[in-house]
């Protein structure tokens, strides 16, 4: 038995690579563990990753890595992983268990929470802990993002939550951080589901990984005007995103959609062209470092979250911006 409380995060890997969400969860978990003076454990299901890869989890903030390994765990395997996770929880119950709000986390955690008879909060964007009690304050958007709700799970343990990807940044890696790596070979029996294949997606929009993002809203008026947005994106080295309105009209594909019903993004630069800033959209982008809004409507909601706003017709402003970025130079820097 440990005397210090334990906080666990589920470090997800896919096709043998650790996902970004693992490091985002480590950043969240590290903050909670420091507040609570707890140990931070990363639980990883895989067919066996190299030691250097596991070490990255320590460098990312974990005090300990529990690497549950079985050939069946090369990819997500619900029943085997749920059984293994329940065994781990029962043998040394953590106070908190976090996973990404990914297709894996949103399947595995509810399955485990039911059997473990504990509470689970979906899609959290904010997490805090009471240092004395270890009570986890789990904040998530509710009712389409109009309202934030803070949820607690007082009597049941572990307190479980899925955390929205890209809702925080990983810590800078500290390669010298000490930590323990425990490999646990697992025997998987009696799975009723069989994986028979995988069809990879060809175009994922690239908006979640992009450091810079140009996003178009209904204000672009016509799909032909996307050319202008693409040109600006080209000059900035940015990916192209869209609001739900634009995707619903079929002007861009769903993988490009930013917002509550699309993807959450945290780019260094977000430039919104004719984006009104519906609350569902804001919920998916307001953690961007720098937000620029270009819109002819001075009342557009996006201005409220923007760092720099240009009120004007985007068909005048965007060509001017492209010209400025291409030819303007930076004389003030001299």
């Amino acid at each position: 038995m440990t005397t210090v409380p334990d906080i666990w995060i589920l470090a997800e890997q896919r096709h043998g690579r650790l996902l970004d969400i693992a490091f985002e969860l480590l950043a969240r978990g590290r903050e909670l563990a420091d507040r609570r003076q707890a140990r931070l454990t990363a639980v990883l299901f895989s067919a066996g990753l190299p030691a250097a890869e596991l070490q990255r989890l320590i460098a990312g903030g974990a005090d300990r890595v529990l690497a549950a390994e079985a050939p069946e765990f090369a990819e997500f395997a619900l029943e085997g992983q749920a059984a293994a996770l329940l065994d781990l929880i029962r043998s040394e119950p953590p106070e908190v268990l976090l996973a990404g709000a990914t297709s894996t986390g949103r399947t595995l955690l509810p399955y485990v929470a039911m059997t473990a008879h504990t509470g689970l909060t979906a899609d959290c964007t904010g997490l805090e802990i009471e240092p004395a009690t270890g009570l986890l304050l789990q904040t998530r958007p509710a009712i389409g993002g109009n309202i934030m709700a803070t949820i607690v799970c007082r009597a049941h343990r572990p307190q479980m939550a899925t955390v929205r990807p890209k809702s925080c940044r990983p810590l800078p890696p500290q390669p010298a951080r000490p930590g323990e790596i425990v490999r646990l070979p697992m025997a998987v029996t009696g799975s009723r589901l069989r994986r028979t294949g995988f069809q990879p997606l060809t175009d994922d929009g690239g908006i979640q990984e992009a450091e810079r993002l140009v996003v178009v809203g209904r204000g672009i008026k016509k799909p032909e005007h996307l050319r202008l947005a693409r040109e600006l994106a080209g000059v900035l080295g940015a990916a192209l995103g869209a609001t739900r309105d634009v995707v619903d009209r079929g002007w861009l594909e769903y993988p490009h959609q930013v917002g509550l019903s699309g993807k959450t993004v945290t780019p260094k630069l977000y430039v919104g062209l004719g984006v009104s800033g519906a609350i569902q959209h804001l919920a998916g982008m307001q953690t961007a470092d720098t937000i620029v809004a270009i819109n002819s409507d001075p009342e557009a909601n996006l201005f409220k979250v923007a760092d720099f706003g240009i009120v004007g017709d985007l068909f005048t402003v965007v060509p001017a911006l492209i010209r400025e970025l291409r030819e303007g130079g930076t004389p003030w820097a001299k």
Binding site: E79, P110, D123, A149, G197, F198, I279, V311, A320
Partner: protein, 264 residues
């Protein structure tokens, strides 16, 4: 083959209000509809009903008025409907809801397949499907975009972040479906008439006899502690660009701003 389709009645508008003291949704005065994402589950069930002469049963937990949502499913062609309604179940979180649904489905006799929508548009958790599967001890496939059953085995596609996973297995199982599964049909006139005349039996605590400590608010591990409006705090440097000349100046200012922030 017996298929259960758990559905939920949700408030229609996005202008839903919440009771600031209890943290629950105020449903009064808001139009209630069948959760739009449940339409895909209903359609998936109807396709299996036609192909395999499956028996389809829509089931919902909610106040007596939730019957309306069940009638929508009947109008689309679902075989019959059951409403779980008891004051003791009010305030249930996803754990308690799944627990009650599992008990109700067991009460209604054998089941081979349960088809859920991806999530409800009000609670937005997407947890009840997997929790229901765990409560029944069945496997679950989430985000299903394709489902075929040959009488012995099913083959399914599962839409994940970087592609589609292909899975096979035997029933029973719970699946949660995404929009790609099928385009929901509209109710027919005959369907509407049948739905209006249908008698929808109610299951209450008298039938299910569940431990009061495992249902409703008391049986819910999670509790809403507070609700608040997200606050937005950034100071926006805003410039006007009424004509081409102003636009050029504005873009110059923006360029410098981005440069100072080391973004370009």
């Amino acid at each position: 083959m017996r298929i259960f389709i758990p559905i939920k009645q949700v408030p229609e508008t996005k202008a839903v209000r919440m009771d600031e003291t209890t943290g629950t949704v105020i449903r009064q005065g808001v139009t209630a509809i069948l959760n739009p994402l449940d339409l895909y589950a209903v359609e998936a069930a109807l396709l299996l009903q036609a192909r395999h002469q499956a028996e389809t049963i829509a089931i919902s937990m909610g106040p007596p008025a939730a019957e309306t949502a069940l009638r929508e499913a009947l109008a689309m062609g679902i075989g019959r409907a059951v409403l779980i309604s008891d004051r003791a179940y009010a305030g249930s979180d996803s754990w308690a809801t799944a627990w009650i649904l599992a008990a109700a489905i067991r009460h209604c006799g054998p089941a081979d397949l349960i088809i859920c929508g991806e999530r409800a548009t009000d609670g937005d958790t997407g947890q009840v499907g997997p929790e229901l599967a765990a409560a029944l001890g069945w496997p679950v496939l989430t985000y299903v975009n394709r489902f075929d059953w040959d009488g012995a085995e099913f083959r399914a596609g599962r839409r994940v972040e970087d592609g589609v996973e292909e899975l096979a297995g035997t029933l029973p199982a719970v699946i949660t479906v995404v929009k790609e599964i099928a385009a929901p049909r509209l109710p027919t006139l005959a369907g509407k008439v049948r739905a209006r005349q249908a008698i929808i039996p109610q299951l209450t605590q008298a039938e299910l006899q569940l431990d009061p400590a495992a249902v409703g608010l008391a049986g819910s591990p999670t509790r809403v502690q507070k609700i608040f409006r997200p606050h937005i705090a950034r100071t926006c440097q805003r410039v006007m660009a009424g004509d081409a000349e102003q636009a050029a100046t504005a873009c110059r200012d923006l360029h410098r701003f981005l440069h100072d922030r080391k973004v370009v």
